[in-house]
Structures are given as C-alpha cells and as structure tokens.
Amino acid sequence: MRRLLLSGTTAVATFGVGGAAYAQTTSAGTVISNQANATYTVNGTPASVQSNLSTFVVDRKVNVTVAADPNTNTIVNLGQSNAVMAFRVTNNTNGTQDMLLTTSQILGAGGTGTDNYDVGNVRIYVDSNTNGQWDAQDQLVTYLDEMLPDASALVFVVADVPNTTSANYASVSLNAQVAIGGATGTAGQALVATDLNLLNQNADQDIVFADADTDGLLGYDAARNGQARAYLQYEVGARTANLSITKTSAVVTDNVNLIAPKAIPGATVQYCLTIQNSSLLVPANGITLTDVIPTNTTYVPGSIRIGGLGTGGVCILGGFAANDDGSAVPLSPYGGSFNATTKTVTASIPTLLGSTSMAVSFQVTIN
C-alpha cells in the first residue's frame, strides 16, 4: 500500500533538472490536456481505468527587448541631415504581436550617457529590405506589424542635427510597447496585463507581462510593463578641422620668352592656393578663401579657377571657372568673385572632405 500523500503545502526544493531555455515556446492559447490511465487486477481479473482529462490554457507571456545595434554613438556634424542610429527590437512573446514604437529625447535618470542638445525631425524607419542599412527602400513606421514569436527587426531612428549648438551629445531613446497582433496593416491596441487579483478561469487566456526593466530603477522603463527601451547618442564629432593653405606663384607668359618666362612688366603670373584639410574624416564646411592681389599688378578678368586638383602648392588641374561678379556657375558647387575696389579675390568652397586638398587659382599681370 502506498501512502504517498502530497500535502497541500510542500516545500518543493529544486525544480527544473536539466532545464533548457526554449527558443520556440508554446503559443499563447494552447490547451494542454493531461490524462493518466491505470491497469490493475482484482482477484486476478484485469481491469483498467482512465483518469479525468485535466486541462489548462497556456497564457500570453509578454516580453520584448530593444537593444542598440550597434551600441556606439552616431558621430554627426553640425547641420547634418538624416543622421542614423540603429536599434534591434525583438518579440519574445509566445504569440504574434504588434510593437508600437516611440522615441524620446528626454534622457531621464535611467538613461546612459549625457544629453545636452536635441535633434530635430526625428523619424523611425524599419529595415524593410533587411540589408542592415538605412536607405530609400526602408519604410517610415510608427509600429512593427505582426511580429512572430522570436522575430526581430532592425529599426532606424533618423534625425536632423541643428546647425548651431555648442553641446556635443543628444541622447535619443527608442521605446517599443507590445500591442495586440492579428490584424495585418493596422496597429493593435497596447496590451494590458490581466489583473492578478481577478479570479481567473483555466479557460481564460491571461496576459502576463514578463519583460525586464531596461534602464534601471529610476528610468522610464519598468519591469513587467510590456515595454522596452534603449538609448543611443548623436555625438558631434571634431569641431575643428586642420586646414592649411599653401600659396605659390608662377609666371605663365611674359610676351618675350617662349620658354622660361620672366617676371617682367606685362608678364602674366598665376597664383595657386592649395587648401588642405589634414583632419582625417572631418569635413570642413563653408570655406571662404580671400586673397588681395599685390600692388602693381592687375587682375586678369575671368581667371579664377576653383576645385582643381592641387597638392603641395602646385595647381595641376584648373577646376571650375568662376564668374567675377560672384554669380553661380552651372554644375559647379563653388563660388568665386573679384572685387575691383578692394582688389580681393574670393573663392567659396561648400565642403572640403577630410584628408583632401583642393586648388584655387587666379592670374594677374605685372604693371
């Protein structure tokens, strides 16, 4: 005879010997039925019996994670449009869910890093073509639609950096809230956890929030709220670029000597200004170059050339011709002008990329 009575309260010691983490979990709503059977003999006569069918419903275990991917600051330049940061949103719920996405620029006590300016025009894109890059094919979204259990998506936060700020760090967080899935193309309502104090029937499919607190006790996110949040920063990179200018002159023609022209009155002299940005990867923007022509020389009209190839003070290629009156030249990003009153040659270069150089040249004649 057996007296293996199981008391109502029993100190259960260790559970889960050889327990494994299940990546593919039982879907919410699955009915699990158990039925035992017994065979026995009474006075040598065999008999058998089935137990009752005991069933319960697997509830919805709501879990979501948002992670910076990669977890590195996005280096930006002032005035930069469409600066991109990337997050990975993963649905760890045992059901298909929508994920409502929002961004915040409030760092909060739980955020990491510093936050001392705000970016503008913040948008959220999903990596529709799953190439890991933000591009034209990616879709502007406010939620992720119909995420299967264990599915993850790369989400891009895209923003514009202000033109002027003395601060260096803008922190942006992406929040994902688990919502009801099931309707393709529409954002579901955010899930609400089943009240623990309500009497639940086995037939009910309860909603249990099982997500972790992603940003500490003082942060905006909390454990078991059906949401997850991750932070990244836009960091203004180097604020100075190391620019240098080399100026050389060469006599082009003196109307006397065909070879080796001399600097005599009437000779034409070309000045070559080579501007070098020796900062690696830091573009210099809005460069304006001015040069007053020497006394006893006369500017040769229409001789300004901008954007040519030049290095070490020698102009190798001419570049774009600029109009003396400062008007724009088609297809050329550059601007040039000559002010006859101040005898100043001006060249404007919108952007000079890091570790590159560019030449500006003009000509004068010796009086």
């Binding site: 293996l4 559970f15 979990t25 039982t26 009474v42 008999a47 089935q50 069918l53």
Partner: protein, 158 residues
C-alpha cells in the same frame, strides 16, 4: 490485450469523464498544479501547490495523480501511466512521490540513465528529461480497499 480496453475507456472518458473513472473500483484523478509562494502566519514564505490558472512558457507545473480503491477487494498489479502532454517537458519526480519509470518511446521503461534516443545521424544518444514521453509507476504492493495514494511529477511548459 490491455491496450484495447484502455482505448475503449478513453472514448468513454472523453464523453463523460466523471462517470468513467468512478465506475470501477479504482478512482483515478489527474490534476495540474503550479507553485505559488504564500506568506504563512509565522511570517515565513511557503510554497503552495495551487490550480494551474496563470501558466506561461517556462513555468513549472506539477502533474498530480490521485488513486483510490473505492471497492471492497484489494487491487493488485496496479500500473499507473501518464503520457506527457505535448508542449510539456518532464523534469523530475515531485519530492514526496515515488520515482516513476520513464520512457522515451512508450514501450521501454526504466530510469532515465538507461534510456537512449535515436539521432538523425543513425546513432543514438543518452536520453535527457526533455525526451520523456511517458511516465509510469508500478505499485509493488496491493492497494487495500479504501486506501488511496498520490503520485506526482514535475514538468515545465515549453
């Protein structure tokens, strides 16, 4: 032989479970319980087994089998079998319950250490708790009239 009888009884159970297990001299009741931490009067926390209401993947449940001899004659050769339901992974015998015999194929029973599972490569490997498909207890001594007992095993929801 006995398998036919079990199959017939199963059909009856599906229609009217209560009647099926109350008919014979042996009553067999299956329950699914889960652990719940409850504060006791003395301030300590005890773990109570409660009806499985709020169960999510990864949760641990206890399958409890209660048998009772409702007849007047002793019941001998009692064998209680519990196929492990789908989406459930066997873990261990519940403390206080006799250790069951296990099977990964429903035919060969024994301790887990003696069971092997065929692999896709054509070889076999040692069985792990996740492989268990049936749990079985064989009672060595007869169950007297009016006597009862409880057997239980622990499992997790996949």
């Amino acid at each position: 032989m006995r398998l036919h009888i079990i199959a017939a009884a199963a059909a009856v159970a599906a229609i009217s479970a209560t009647a099926a297990y109350a008919a014979g001299p042996l009553s067999l009741v299956s329950e699914v319980k889960t652990e719940k931490r409850v504060a006791a009067a003395d301030g300590t926390t005890r773990i109570a087994l409660v009806k499985a209401d709020k169960i999510v993947p990864g949760d641990r449940v206890v399958f409890v089998l209660t048998y009772r001899n409702t007849g007047t004659q002793p019941i001998a050769n009692l064998v209680l079998a519990n196929p492990v339901p789908a989406n459930i992974a066997y873990r261990a015998a519940n403390p206080g319950s006799a250790a069951p015999e296990l099977s990964v194929d429903g035919k060969t029973f024994g301790p887990l250490s003696g069971l092997r599972v065929a692999t896709a490569a054509g070889t076999s490997r040692a069985a792990v708790p996740d492989d268990v498909t049936t749990v079985r207890w064989r009672l060595a001594s007869p169950v007297a009239a009016g006597a009862q007992g409880q057997l239980a095993f622990q499992a997790v929801i996949k």
